[in-house]
Symmetry: C2
Subunit: 356 residues, 2 copies
């Protein structure tokens, strides 16, 4: 099959980690007989330098016409150090998410055996963890009306949700659970919040359409504790925007490293795949950045395109590199051998190409 992939290398370490992800994709194309047509697009600080706009119209067009978007990382020191600058690299990503109507953020959380030791949590607690977090991304309190009184003595934020907003992500979560351990946990605060009660009612009703999937409910405060106390009890987590922001960051610690965490943002027509980590400009060009999160983002993209075997091949290759310790320095103890960014990418591509 032929797929058009928009590639946004971005800033800092973005271009070098994206290059490794492309190596992995090329190996997949070779083995599974696909054609990946890469369309490179500019976004972030690099786009500001060239065009004055962190998200040029050309980038939007390329992304809208692609089968999927793979993004490196966005952000540059110059902007971090000067918060008064009005045009900022991150605006590019936020606007792109709006343009593509990406309403659902998906974050896989996995405890890799070789990285158990890097987590603040005990091995016996996290071992076997495999969670998929579905977070609503375009509504809730982050996007509600914000007010400050004229005298500056009070302020308010509104959290609102509609049944439509809840329904579209709920279906995605249930469908994902069907391919997994068939369990969805809705995280809310239905004992207090009206929006949470709407979530609970809507999700329970939609759940009836998926009789093979078990549904349970958990309050956000308890959930934030349970994900640390007993993470293996979760399969698919479904939640609103703010709760998802918090719970996915707590869950980060299970993987033992932010350098391996990938995410996808999905809309009705488009989808964007990117690492959790930032652009880490201090490391740019040094061939030391960890490319695994970018490579796993490419894997999520293949999964999204329905290429399950191909996604598995990337997953297996990443696990092999972890098992063999062919990883960058951030995953290593002091004085341990570490591989360069390019070497890790080469290993992954070779392994995919030769694993049969």
């Amino acid at each position: 099959m032929k797929y058009t992939i928009a590639i946004i290398p971005g800033d800092g370490i973005g271009p070098e980690v994206t290059t490794q992800a492309k190596k992995a994709l090329d190996a997949v194309a070779e083995v599974y007989d696909h054609i990946f047509l890469y369309k490179e697009a500019q976004m972030g600080a690099c786009a500001i330098e060239k065009t004055g706009d962190p998200l040029p119209q050309e980038t939007i067009d390329i992304c809208k016409n692609a089968d999927a978007v793979l993004c490196g990382a966005i952000g540059e020191l110059k902007y971090d150090n000067d918060p008064t600058l009005k045009v900022r690299p991150e605006q590019g990503l936020l606007r792109l998410r709006q343009e593509l109507e990406l309403f659902c953020n998906v974050r896989p959380v996995k405890a890799y055996p070789k990285l158990l030791k890097n987590s603040p949590l005990k091995k016996e607690i996290i071992s076997g963890t495999d969670i998929l977090i579905y977070r609503e991304l375009t509504s809730g309190i982050y996007f509600g009306k914000k007010e400050i009184s004229e005298d500056g003595l009070s302020a308010s934020d509104v959290c609102s949700y509609t049944v439509d907003e809840i329904s579209r992500i709920t279906h995605l979560a249930f469908k994902a659970a069907q391919d997994r351990k068939k369990k969805v946990t809705l995280i809310d605060k239905a004992n207090v919040l009206a929006t949470s009660r709407l979530w609970r009612k809507t999700v329970a009703k939609i759940g009836e359409e998926y009789p093979d999937v078990a549904l349970d409910f958990m309050f956000i405060d308890n959930a934030a504790m349970q994900i640390v106390l007993n993470p293996t009890r979760f399969d698919v987590i479904l939640t609103e925007n703010l709760f998802g922001d918090v719970i996915s960051d707590v869950a980060c610690v299970i993987g033992g490293s932010i350098g391996i965490l990938a995410s996808s943002s999905v809309g009705g027509k488009n989808a964007l795949f990117e690492p959790i980590h930032g652009s880490y400009p201090q490391a740019a060009g040094k061939d030391i950045a960890n490319p695994l999160a970018s490579i796993l983002s490419a894997g999520l993209m293949l999964e999204h395109l329905g290429l399950h075997d191909e996604a598995d091949a990337i997953q297996r290759a990443v696990e092999k590199s972890l098992d063999l310790g062919i990883t960058t320095q951030d995953l290593k103890g002091k004085n341990q051998y570490s591989a360069s960014t390019a070497k890790v990418g080469d290993f992954i591509a070779d392994y995919i190409a030769n694993q049969e």
Copy 2:
């Protein structure tokens, strides 16, 4: 000195753990030459049985006229199993908090050496943790306007805060930090929420009145991760209602057991002290309930009354019981010796009485 203490034994294990807390208080009174005048009051299921009301007016009066309120635990199986009952034990506690205008919830989080092994977190991560969480308790999204549209297709919750609401708890947090490691961390989401920006502005301004205390800021999503990753970086945490609900439950896992966690709820005139744990009716009357959270609640109460040495005496006695393993079965491995509720209470009281 003479102090009037309202004692609300409550339901389930409430009466027996409160009895142990009174033993500790009696020992303190003896050693430090105080008089604690206990006024017993009914609240919860036991109050419903006797009066039909979970919070009789007499209880409100006793509490308002006392120097402090010590509460056991509220709740009974009969009500848990029948959510349709309209008069419920928990309403007593919620109404009492309103009557006493308790706007600030304080939760100490401590990693006791002997309980490190009970935490899901690694010893080297939590060892030395000593945090005080100040959570605003009467405003924010839990108390804001709630709406469901007539067609049932949308819902909203309003989060609002005033400078006054923020100021009164902020002063308490800074004052507490002055007696500790002199650091306050405000947890908010000021990059997105108007209420968070009001918190940040107000707290920063008040912070100038406490030049000996360092102030920093952290977003709630990052904070929920950092409290697991690096809990020893925190001293006093200050935050709004919902964020405090979440962060204090995540922080629970540091102590290794919910059976030792005490809390206080403070208002302008009154203050209430109680364990985090519930009434655990299944264990009532069996002399197996862990009394440490209730005893530590009494310790917090003494601290609040300005009796610092006396509070320290309770703290030391509790630590001694943990060190010697004179604890109830919930803190033990299988087949390990455990002490009864009364025996733990006796040990604590004896230790306080004889520690000089």
